[in-house]
Each structure stands twice: as C-alpha cells, then as structure tokens.
Symmetry: C2
Subunit: 242 residues, 2 copies
C-alpha cells in the first residue's frame, strides 16, 4: 500500500492519481483490464468517494483510462515512459512479476571491431570485442533491436552466459564484478528500414528512436558501447530540466 502524504502541497486526489498512474505505467494494472472499483480505492487510501472520483477524472484527462458506465474504469493502451533522470536498463525496469520481458539473441560472437567501436571503447586496434545482437520482447511484442559491443577482456565468457534471460548490466556487475558508474547517451529520431521493421514488427518507414550509449565504469573507462533501435509507437522518453 502506498501512503498519502498529509504534509504535501498536492491535494489527496492528485496524490492518488499519481499513485494509480505509476501502477498503470508499471503494468501493475494491465492494459485492457478493469481498475479496482471506486469503493476499493476509498478503502485503500481511506478517503471519500469524491476524492477517488477526482483522481480517476484526472487519469481520464491524461488518456490513461476510460470509464464505462456500470462497468468501471478500464486501462487504455499507452506508451511506456522511460525517464532520463537516472541510469535505465529495460532489462531491469521492465522485468517485474507481472511482465513478460525476454531477450531473443540474434547472434553473439567475437568480432574484429571497426574504427568507430575502437574509438568509442578506447581499446587497441588488435583487441577483440563481443558483438551481441538482441531483440528485446515485452509482453510478446518486439520493442527494441539492440547491438552491444563489449571488449573480450572485460567479460571473457559473456557470450556463454544465459543472455536471453539476463540483463547484460546485471551480468557485468554480478558475475564480472564491474561497477557501472554512468552512461553517455545520444538520442536521434530515425525511420525504420526493411531489416529493422521486420525485426520490430512495424511497418517500413515507421518512426523509431536510435540511441547510442557508452557505459562507463570508474575513471570513465568504457565497458560497453550499445546501439538501440526503439519502437516509437511504444516508447517515449521523459525528463525534467532545471
């Protein structure tokens, strides 16, 4: 149970709205299913029916739910919001009990890196790199087509690990003891080509995000360079600017 904050400048109905909103975005209340009834929310938050109704009205305004008379409130399809306010990992954030988030490995092999990868990873020309191509699948929909490049000496056995069920970051930290300190990320809009649209199950020419990420450990040492293509119909990025 989430508690309301009596000292907040936010009225109760907006606090409740935020709590329900979070649960919807985290798939605790699933798309196309009924929300708990107004009565249940009254009981959970110990507030009046009018307060709950105000909260639901706000969610309706945001397009997150719709209300059917005599039935209740239904969760509408929505984009996954990914905050840019902290380090994110789809493998970590989308993986919770209610979700079905898996990675399908297209290929995982040792390669001779090209100039761009050598420069990004700041390695010597003769060093080998693992290239791992994955499709990240969320609730049966392919969402992200991703290429990761990791110097072989950083994680010598990583392509033998259970990559389809694991976050690469969890493997790097858990098995190889490499602390992830930060990531530098570039975001660009792109239009899906034939290969990309096929793997992402979208139409040729659909808008996608292209993100380029360099993941760093202590002393700004690169440990992974990653290129991700993310479906624009399923995702939006969110940030706060000060």
């Amino acid at each position: 149970m989430d508690n309301l904050n009596k000292d907040s400048y936010l009225p109760y109905y907006l606090q409740i709205k935020e709590i329900i909103r979070e649960r919807i975005l985290n798939n605790i209340y699933e798309i196309d299913t009924l929300l708990p009834s107004e009565k249940e929310f009254c009981k959970e938050f110990n507030v009046t029916r009018a307060t709950v109704r105000n909260a639901l009205r706000e969610l309706k305004k945001e397009g997150l739910i719709c209300t059917e008379k005599g039935v209740g409130s239904i969760v509408k399809p929505h984009k996954i919001e990914q905050s840019l306010l902290q380090f994110y990992s789809f493998g970590r954030t989308l993986k919770n009990k209610k979700d079905d988030f898996i990675s399908k490995i297209i290929s995982a092999k040792k390669i001779k890196p090209n100039c761009n990868i050598i420069n990004r990873l700041e390695i010597k020309k003769n060093m080998s790199v693992y290239e791992i191509l994955r499709i990240r699948i969320f609730n049966k929909s392919p969402l992200i087509l991703e290429a990761s490049y990791i110097p072989v000496h950083i994680a010598p056995d990583i392509i033998k690990d259970k990559l389809h069920g694991m976050s690469i970051y969890n493997l790097l930290e858990g098995k190889y003891g490499i602390k992830i300190v930060k990531a530098r990320e570039y975001i660009e809009p792109q239009v899906a080509n034939e290969f990309q649209s096929k793997h992402l199950s979208i139409e040729y020419g659909s808008p996608i995000f292209h993100t380029e990420r360099l993941t760093l450990t202590h002393n700004n040492k690169p440990i992974e360079y990653r290129n991700s293509l993310i479906r624009g119909d399923k995702f939006k990025f969110y940030t706060e600017l000060y």
Copy 2:
C-alpha cells in the same frame, strides 16, 4: 583563451580536443571553414605540434573535421547536440554573435483552449490562451516548428512583443517577471507530414523529434505548454545517466 588543466587525468591532447569540439559545436569555428593552423593552436595552448596533431586526429575520428593535405583542417557539417542535462532554450543557446538565429512568426493569436491545453496549463475552462506558432531558423535553415500556449493573464501583451527577435523565456522572465523554475519534457520520434515537411524544408516522411514541454514557475505552476517538431537531420539529444 581556454586554459588546460595540469591536474586533470585527461592528457593535454584530449583536453584540447574537447575545447576545439565545443567551439565547433558552438559555431565559433563555422562549418566548411578552415580551423586555425596547427602552429596557431601550438601557440594558443603552449604545447608541441605532436599534441595538437593528436587532438586533431581525435576530432577527425569523431567526424567533426576532415584534413586536406597542404590546406589544413576543415569543419564538417554535423548535428547540433542539445544536452538534456539542464534547462535548454534554442533561442538562448543558438543565439550568439556568430550565429544567425531568428524566429519567423506563422501566427500569434488569442484562442479558446482545447481540453488538452486546459489540463496541461491547469487553467479554468473559460480562460483564454495565447497560441504562438513559430519557425525557428538557424543560419537560414528552418530547424524547429513550434507551438507555444501561454495563459493570457500570465503575459497579457506578449503577442504585441517582438516575438521574432526574442526568446519567449527571456520575455516571460525579463518583461513579465516570471521566474522559470523547471520544465517537464517528453520526447518522441515522428515522421514529418506534408505541413511539417513543407515548413521545415525536409522531405515528406523524414524523421523528426516531437517534444512536448510544460514550463513551470514556483510551486509547479505551469506558465507555458509547448509542442516542438525538431529536424532529426540537424539535431541530436545528449544526456548522461547515473
């Protein structure tokens, strides 16, 4: 002159590279023009020719310059990098002595706001809002197509102001005394439709960013809601994630 930091873990050539890179991205060294000579950089930074050459080699690797034998280093066309690490305003950041950044007003009028705008700006249904449509033009290229919505009572005369030459944020802060505290921003990829591609001088179906921004003053009070369409061939967003 920018000084090198003797105590930095970064070698001199990488520090020099970063300084030159910043100048290129800030248009101090303009696209398609020659960089200062190696000799001039040696003098400015008080380093050897080898150090300057190493710095230039790094810039070449990043695709920011190309070198022509016997001529020197030329600044290549590149995307404008917009950091998401702090509040940004194209009207502020792109406006410096060397740039030619203007706003062309398509329309500026009082409107009856729709539901979405009422909800975003948290105003009453009967309140009027200014709608300002602008094209933001940088060095003669249209870059951004932007719709701003500002409650009339916040800035009663703003559509009479010199909007084509001014940042709206500067007007709000300078003339109307409204402190901008933060902004919430959503970023999505999109494909340009006919109207958008015409105004942005790009081909129909080109990738663009769609950003939605709510600008807030003290106590999270919304003062402006903005929808921007930003050319994907000219911009990329950059952030650091911790």
